[in-house]
């Protein structure tokens, strides 16, 4: 296993694998954050999360096309515009869905699972009818491709760094929103005790709508970022959804810290195992590990105490 490599090579293996693990970690956090907010704060299991991500990816695709055709000079910067538009589009759709469907189901949390699963099928078909069944290729500005050489054998990928930066930025914004802003206080109050929160004058409906919108908006940004690494087609959202649920459930659904810790654990395990075993084997062992830990700790890694 180790004998194939020299000592120097082993050193760079660990650095590069560590870095690959960090990229995977960022990807997981980005995917799971929106889901964790919605599930953790509202108890809604959003099976259509992947489709909200793909909406963001399609928005990115159309933005890139627009810039290519009409503003080629600004193409290098289009990605930032695309991410903002993706957030707005997915967030708006999320708020609409909350108003039209989810709010009728708060008393029946398991039904949200079915309803959002149906929604995901509907959205997939809508994408297929509107955008066509084939995958689209999102062209990226040149500066996002390529890698920075640190030493002869160690290189870090620019889009990996970009995803990491984005993840850190979004996580900080969400943390500040949740724990420092008055809106965050309202959200947490509603989570802890909906009736009491209503009684002290918090507009719980509005809080719900914006929370759902925020979760979906983050999904849109994640989708936008994934055009760098993944495919954009009507059913691409399905590629991510299993991993996303895995991260959220493993972390303990109600805790943002748990989501981050679980994303870190899973990504590092996956990345390290992948190097010394094969890709499929790494996935199997990671899943096995998660299952065993969930058997010992059914609530996930981190649990916050809530009065029921």
């Amino acid at each position: 296993m180790f004998s194939d490599y020299s000592l120097a090579e082993l050193g760079s293996i660990f650095v590069m694998q560590g870095f690959a693990g960090l990229i995977l970690f960022s990807v997981f956090v980005l995917m799971a954050l929106g889901l964790a907010i919605i599930f953790g704060q509202m108890g809604v299991i959003n099976m259509a999360h992947g489709e909200f991500m793909i909406l963001g990816a399609y928005v990115t695709y159309f933005t890139s096309q627009f810039f290519l055709n009409h503003l080629p000079a600004l193409f290098t910067a289009y990605f930032f515009v695309a991410m903002i538009l993706a957030f707005i589009a997915s967030g708006a759709l999320g708020m609409f869905i909350e108003w039209a469907m989810i709010r009728r189901l708060y008393k029946r949390p398991l039904d949200t699972l079915l309803a959002t699963w149906g929604l995901s099928l509907i959205l997939q078909q809508v994408y297929r009818s509107v955008f066509g069944p084939r995958e689209v290729g999102v062209e990226l500005p040149e500066w996002m491709m390529g890698s920075l050489p640190l030493t002869d054998t160690i290189e870090v990928q620019i889009n990996g760094l970009f995803v990491m930066g984005l993840t850190i930025a979004i996580t900080i914004v969400v943390a500040v929103l949740m724990y420092k802003s008055s809106w965050g206080k309202q959200v947490r109050a509603v989570v802890q005790n909906r009736v009491m929160a209503g009684a002290v004058g918090i507009n719980t409906e509005k809080v719900d709508r914006y929370t759902f919108g925020l979760g979906c908006g983050i999904a849109g940004v994640a989708g936008s970022a994934f055009t760098m690494i993944g495919s954009t087609g009507p059913t691409s959202g399905q590629l991510y959804i299993v991993d996303t649920f895995l991260v959220v459930v493993f972390g303990g659904a109600q805790s943002l810290l748990g989501t981050i810790a679980s994303a870190f654990t899973i990504s590092q395990a996956q990345s390290t195992l992948e190097f010394f075993l094969s890709g499929s084997m790494a996935k199997v062992l990671t899943l096995l590990g998660v299952v065993i830990i969930l058997m010992l700790r059914p609530q996930g890694l981190f649990v916050i105490k809530v009065r029921r």
């Binding site: 490599y5 690959a20 995977l24 997939q124 084939r134 995958e135 290729g137 990928q157 954009t232």
Partner: protein
């Protein structure tokens, strides 16, 4: 056309019929010239009782076939092209008079990317609709699900995808390549022209890539001089993180990366290769799973320079293909691209038509027996012939991907390669 009309002053009904018949006669060869073949059968269709003794959905004017592909679910992206090609072939065959004087009607069913559904729909097509043939399936899993149904109810399946081989059925015509046809010539080529000595194999984790890689490894280690495999790795379907394997590739520096990654994973794999600074114009990469369809999603700029080993590319320069590409784009839009499987799907209805006409019957047993030796000289890929083992003789080609998402053919086997679904020494 006929100049008799003006002097016919008295119009008896029979005379008028006769005249119209005469007027139609010169039009018949015109019509068939517009198509790809001349069909003498157009004028005098044989009686249904004579050409159909097993109760298929054949009338004096119509014959029904089934189209069975996924138009929903994850495989819809790939199978859309096959459906389009089959419909085009059927329309063209109908325009020149149909099969044994009968227009082809099709019933389309959706396999929905779900293998039990494929089996169910195949049964429905054969038992309820009594279709004379089925054009369909894409993944090996769907074919394996449909196969027992087709054999039990004695149907005829025209299967378009290149696949792993190790199968043969009297009820199936495989219009794509089996694994050895696709793999061996390409490996020989890459070793000779790119001085490929070390190979890194990477694929998705299911039967087709694993079997293909097994054959490739045997060939590299057993038949190519001084060559070796320095890595072999598989990833689950839909996997989107390839950073680890890319790191390994960077360390091992193989002469050739040999890839059979499928579906959406392709997009992730090639984007990440490019982002990791592996330049496909310097690093030789040969794949057996990327067609023009996939490049649509990957993006031409991420795949340019790589080599793909297939029997067909949209850019093939021959008159058959020019007609085919033009007709396809006319029917389905200027922006559509045509990949290897799409072309193989187009062959299905044509081969079936020619076999039916050779057999002089729609009956499945007669068609199965008459299939061997059927030649299609107007195939877009050039020329194909059905082998007694129900696979096609075909050429293998290597294309280099260009920025616009099309391939430039850089190698073509001089002769047709004999299909060998049960390769000795490779199992």
């Amino acid at each position: 056309m006929s100049s008799n009309n003006d002097k016919s002053s008295k119009f008896s009904a029979t005379r008028r019929k006769l005249l119209m018949g005469m007027a139609a006669l010169p039009a018949a060869p015109l019509l068939s010239q517009a198509g790809l073949f001349s069909t003498p059968a157009f004028a005098q269709a044989p009686a249904t009782s004579a050409v159909n003794t097993t109760g298929l959905a054949v009338t004096d004017t119509e014959v029904t076939v089934g189209i069975l592909h996924s138009v929903t679910g994850t495989m819809a992206i790939s199978e859309t092209g096959s459906v389009q090609a089959e419909k085009l072939a059927i329309e063209q065959i109908n325009a020149m008079g149909g099969v044994l004087g009968r227009k082809i009607k099709f019933i389309q069913e959706d396999g929905a990317s779900d293998w039990p559904t494929f089996a169910e729909k195949a049964k429905k097509l054969l038992v309820n609709d009594k279709v004379a043939a089925i054009m369909g399936c894409w993944t090996s899993a769907s074919r394996k699900a449909v196969l027992p149904v087709v054999e039990q109810y004695n149907g005829m399946l025209y299967y378009p995808t290149f696949y792993e081989g190790l199968e043969q059925s009297k009820n199936v015509i495989y219009t794509g390549q089996e694994a050895t046809q696709q793999i061996l010539a390409g490996l020989d080529w890459v070793q000779k022209t790119k001085a490929g000595k070390t190979f890194y194999l990477i694929g998705s984790d299911y039967i087709w890539p694993r079997t293909s890689m097994k054959i490739a490894r045997k060939h590299i280690e057993g038949h190519l001089k001084d060559s070796s495999v320095v890595g072999e790795e598989y990833f689950p379907l839909g996997h989107t993180q390839f950073n680890s394997v890319i790191n390994k590739i960077k360390l091992k520096k193989p002469d050739v990366i040999y890839a059979a990654v499928v579906g959406g994973s392709n997009v992730a794999f090639y984007k990440q290769l490019k982002a990791a600074g592996i330049d496909l114009s310097k690093q030789t990469l040969l794949t057996i799973s990327v067609t023009e369809d996939e490049i649509d999603g990957i993006g031409g700029e991420n795949f340019a320079g790589a080599y793909s080993c297939m029997k067909y590319f949209q850019s093939l320069d021959n008159p058959n293909n020019k007609d085919f590409v033009a007709a396809f784009k006319k029917m389905w839009g200027e922006k559509t691209v045509i990949g290897d499987v799409t072309q193989a799907a187009y062959l299905g209805p044509w081969l079936w038509k020619m076999t039916v006409e050779k057999a002089g019957s729609f009956d499945v047993d007669k068609i199965a027996a008459a299939s061997a030796g059927i030649e299609f000289s107007k195939a877009p890929e050039g020329y194909v012939k059905i082998h007694p083992n129900h696979h096609l003789w075909s050429k293998t080609r290597v294309g280099q991907a260009q920025l616009d998402g099309q391939f430039k053919v850089v190698f073509e086997t001089p002769d047709l390669i004999e299909p060998d679904p049960f390769p000795k020494g490779y199992q």
